[in-house]
């Protein structure tokens, strides 16, 4: 079937790609050697595939790649592009908010969005906003600590 040429901004850089309509955003990002967004559950339930499209968090596994045409796409890899960890990334390290790390990029991007919308979230706000992100290692208490740590910075 036909491929389509799309143009979009990827972590601040204009890029283009030829994609088939049935490809999702995670598959597209892999072609740019970006592996921070991972397809894990494939159903939008776990948050491992979190990507920002026009500054809104989406599940990359449930988002057609062709839909980013003309849009701005931000992945976890952009956060330390200047060689410095973002406050949220540093807070996750300081709070030990991960074990295996597989889910961490999704948690970190979602935490960024949460703090942008709500700079001083309560525990309940954090739990609500991150309820769609799963950590199989069970580091939820540390994740909440990390978000509060980042909010204080």
């Amino acid at each position: 079937m036909s491929t389509r040429l799309i143009n979009f901004t990827l972590n601040g850089q204009p890029v283009s790609a030829a994609v088939e309509p049935h490809r999702n955003l995670v598959e597209l990002l892999q072609r740019f050697d970006l592996f921070g967004a991972r397809e894990s559950c494939g159903q939008g339930l776990c948050g491992c595939c979190t990507v920002l499209v026009d500054d809104k968090a989406v599940s990359g596994c449930l988002y057609f790649a062709v839909w980013v045409d003309g849009k701005s796409v931000t992945t976890v890899e952009s956060l330390d592009a200047d060689g410095q960890l973002s406050p949220v990334q540093q807070a996750f390290i300081d709070a030990g908010a991960f074990q295996c790390g597989f889910c961490t990029p999704g948690f970190i991007l979602m935490s960024h969005q949460l703090l942008k919308e709500n700079p001083n979230p309560t525990d309940d706000d954090i739990r609500h906003y991150l309820s769609g992100n799963l950590c199989r290692c069970g580091t939820y208490p540390e994740v909440i600590e990390a978000v509060k740590l980042a909010a204080g910075k």
């Binding site: 309509p21 339930l45 769609g132």
Partner: protein, 288 residues
Amino acid sequence: MIPFEMVEPRSLKEALALLDPQEPTIRPVAGGTALMLMMKAGVFTPTRLICLHAIEPEHARITVGGNGDLRIGAMATLREVEKDSNVASRFPVLARAMRTLSSVRVRNVARVGGALAHGDPHMDLPPVLSALGARVSIAGPNRNRELPLEKLYAGYYETVLEKNELITAVTVPALNGRKAAYMKVTSRTADDWPSLGVAVTFALADGRIREPIVVVSAATEKVTRMSAVEKALESAAPDDATLRRAGDAAADEVQTLSDAHGSAPYKRELLRVYLRRAVRQALDESAQ
């Protein structure tokens, strides 16, 4: 996923013309979050998707009319409804329901029209909006029509929409003091598909329930209005005896279905209990 074509019409008229009443493998797509799950599971294999994004701006508005009616364009995202100040102030039950519905990421993408047209009985908007007395506006190639939302649903994943019709908006009448609550039960994670959804709205006059609308979802094959429950509640004082009677009527009236979210008998008991809780919650809101 199996390859398919995607086309992007520039107007509603063009979109309607691209749909084919005889061809089930051609379907409209708005947010795609539910449709992609069906495609990944292999239960839906499209040949062509009609992407509605280019006609979005004029069909995504959320407005309040002079009579207090809320009109939500079908292409509004669930998150836009959740964040809308008119929804928050006039229909708190709707704003609250949005927060319990899937995750922020899905709500950023999923559209109201898709959530109504999908016909999945586990979705939350159909029962809430039905209990609020909402009407859907439907555009077709030759005529437009309007239906009470509850009449949209014909069965499990089945609606009365023709394959070449599109929902353009949903209109919710002003609450005018009616009490409203929606309760859902998820048996696995907080943001999972529910085992049961139950929505109630009613007026309260002289301490008695008037004109109740009671709707069940998720436990049943489709969004279902429960007339026996409404009869049990009508003109009754909302005391423990009334609520028990209404809960029992609900359990008797409805045929619950077993699925991954719970067995039919389990859901029947959930309904018996949660119907009472929903009426109580609606009454509590008035105290706030």
